[in-house]
């Protein structure tokens, strides 16, 4: 005879945990998404992605190549993706700075790929083993012409897994480079994880209109202005239409790409908005206010930074009296993005060189409160 209790045991086996970093889960997400090519130039704090991919890809029938520099790494990925294989590289701010030219080339040639940027303190070489969220607008404005490159930002190891798959999916759907914007703390801090609890979107397969170089149909690709057949063309007429289409295809999917966590609270005093590692502190601050009832607050954790998830930002902003944006950089880079969406100033909690703590967020909420 079977009891209900036993049935429950069968459905919910005892959890089995691993200790993992965000960087490891980025690599596992990439492998799950079908990434078969990785070229990397190791850089702190991103190099564990390189290590895991180098260890796992040969066994998965893939290729992991150590490139002599960041530009070569991304160029190898571009070539591999043009040949028809999912490709990824991982870097940090200094490497991303070098890759910007090649990212634009991938955009222009409509080459799908994923670049993982594990942020560290800048500018220049900055603090190699020091965390920061200072590359938000360096990623946003990486193209001449201001094209929107999709950017996903994980806060946890589980996010790192799911959002890497999301990044691959959107790279395939839109045939373009997509950035996973992690940071030193999310990337390298080790945490407990039960893989059985991981959630992941369905994998988007590579399909037409993508056509591989080396396949039976002739392919012509160029980073210069071109017509629909890939022939060089003075930027007029059809070539200009194509330049517009590069942006329009992203904007059209902005709503579908918007990933966030938000629990609506009507008439809240404050809505806190954050992303990446700072969203973890925000979550604790949010729990504090919910537990104590000291303030009516809600929080919006953004997992998609670009295209800007305007709808949820407007919605959350409309439900609260005050808006507090928390991020670990000097000037409040994403706060400026939100201000441009809302057309009014928001409160900024920023910090340079150290994690924003839950206590600091709590204090910021109290600062101008009743």
């Amino acid at each position: 005879m079977t009891t209900d209790v036993e049935l429950l045991d069968v459905e919910r086996p005892q959890p089995s945990y691993d200790l993992v970093s965000g960087n490891r889960m980025v690599a596992e997400g990439a492998l799950t998404a079908g990434c078969r090519f990785f070229a990397g130039y190791p850089i702190a704090p991103a190099f564990e992605v390189f290590h895991v991919m180098t260890e796992a890809l040969p066994q998965a029938g893939g290729l992991a190549v150590s490139a002599p520099d960041d530009i070569t790494a991304l160029q190898y990925c571009i070539g591999a993706s043009m040949a028809g294989y999912r490709a990824m590289t991982a870097t940090s701010g200094p490497g991303w700075s070098l890759m910007i030219e090649s990212v634009q080339y991938a955009l222009m040639t409509e080459t799908p790929l994923v670049v993982v940027v594990v942020q560290r303190l800048g500018p220049a070489t900055g603090g190699a083993t020091h965390g920061a969220q200072g590359d938000v607008r360096l990623v946003e404005f990486c193209t001449s012409g201001g094209y929107t490159i999709p950017v996903f930002a994980p806060s946890t190891a589980a996010d790192s897994f799911a959002l890497t798959i999301e990044a691959f999916n959107w790279a395939e759907r839109l045939r373009m480079p997509v950035v996973l914007l992690s940071d030193k703390e999310v990337g390298t801090t080790i945490q407990r994880l039960d893989r059985a609890e991981l959630t992941a979107p369905d994998i988007v397969q590579r399909a037409a209109p993508f056509t591989p170089v080396g396949g039976p149909a002739k392919v012509a690709l160029t980073g210069s202005a071109h017509d629909r057949c890939g022939r060089l063309m003075k930027p007029a007429g059809e070539a200009l239409e194509l330049l517009r289409a590069l942006e329009a295809k992203v904007v059209a999917q902005a709503h579908a790409m918007a990933r966030f966590q938000y629990r609506p609270v009507s008439n809240a005093d404050v809505v806190m908005i954050s992303f990446g590692v700072t969203a973890r502190a925000m979550k604790e601050a949010c729990h504090h206010f919910q537990d104590t009832g000291e303030r009516l607050v809600t929080c919006l954790k953004l997992e998609t930074l670009f295209p800007v998830p305007e709808r949820i930002i407007r919605h959350a902003a409309a439900s609260a009296r005050r808006i507090l944006v928390c991020e670990e950089n000097l000037t409040g880079q994403y706060a400026a993005v939100i201000e441009s969406v809302l057309g009014r100033p928001v409160e900024r909690l920023t910090k340079l060189g150290a994690l924003i703590t839950p206590d600091e967020i709590i204090a910021a909420v109290r600062r101008t409160g009743p």
Binding site: Q14, Y17, I71, G84, I190, Q191, T222
Partner: protein
Amino acid sequence: MTGPGRTSWLAETAQLPYCEGCSHASVLHALDQALVSLRLDPADVAIVTDVGCVGLAGELFEAAHTVHALHGRSPATATGLALADEALGPGRLKTVVLIGDGGALVGIGHLVHAALVNADVTVLVHNNSWLGTSRAQPSALAPEGAITAGLAAASFTPPLDIVKLLSAAQAGYLVRTFADDPDLAAAIAAAIDHPGFALIEVLEYCPARNAHRDEAEGRRSDEAVAVFEGKIEPQRVRRPPFVETYRSRHAGVPAPAPRPRLAATYKSTLDRPVCIVVAGTAGEHIQTAAQVLCAAAVTAELDCTQKNDNPVTVGTGFSLSEVILSPFEISFTGIEWPDAIIVTSSEGLAEVRRRGLLGRLAAGGVVVTDKQLEVSSALSLPLRQIASPQHAALAGVAAWLAHSQIFPLEALVDAAGQRGLSAAIGPVLAVSGSARRRPQDDAARD
């Protein structure tokens, strides 16, 4: 795309967009003849062009796949294509790069690595001594004294011998020849036929550059040819392709070890988060000790996070881990008020002091130090002496666990054993035994 039997790979209406007398046209016709003679399937050929005059030609090769790359990056784009085709695809792709002498120096690192990697990439360096499209400066491959846009833009540097350079990079096939070499098509065909990286430097004539020269000096000559001592017959180095080496290196390498599966075996008495800082010297397994603590805590049904820090150098200076253990899900991973600080060396102590951690010890918190360190009211133990410097941190962690009793020491012993640290356990426990909280301590505290 038509089959391999075609008589030209260029579009029938193709007009090569070059000045009268420019070598590019004759070299590209030689490339066309080479492709025809090899009877390759056009679907298996990718022509990757760099930026500059010669880059305009790519798309005229209507039969092949064409990729117009960034300035100087074409060798890397092509190598990515070739590597992926060889490792993941049918391995039939012939990749031909057309690059000028300007682009060759922009992408010199790409060329060197492409030669080292030895994927099936053939590079034609069209060396006409200057950056013709911008009609400005001489390239680094130009002979010293070569004049371009007037005397002010003369080359003041000796020419880079790219054949010699790539010879040092073990390039599998290297040739230098002239645009008017009657055997040029055969030379290009041989390079493309070579199964790995090949490079042909073709010394060319640019009428636009020589027009400037005429004004400046009133003479025309192919001084590049003289400087480079003319033609270099094919230099071959027999090397396995990258993918072959890659596969043989990985053959027999076992799959990555399965990841640990930690299940709840022990119980914890913890009813709130505790924050532990472990600090010591890089290279002395500080972060390993913290990870053993985390693994043990997970088997005692606790959530955990471990945030590591060390200088850029991995083997010198301090190493520090911030560990949080909690019966609840942990969100914020930083430590403001440590409940325990475990310090095994003076470097660790210096970092702990720099961060002001001792002054922020939580009420009821404990500091465990090696006995050689002078920290007031710390639990001072012979960590390094008994457990060795390599396991001092683990001994410190064990001592703290024995003292705090938040979960059984056996969990730590298990976790250490699973990480191959069984041999260290005896000395580690010998140290921690002295830290075990005795009933009379509790009585005294009560």
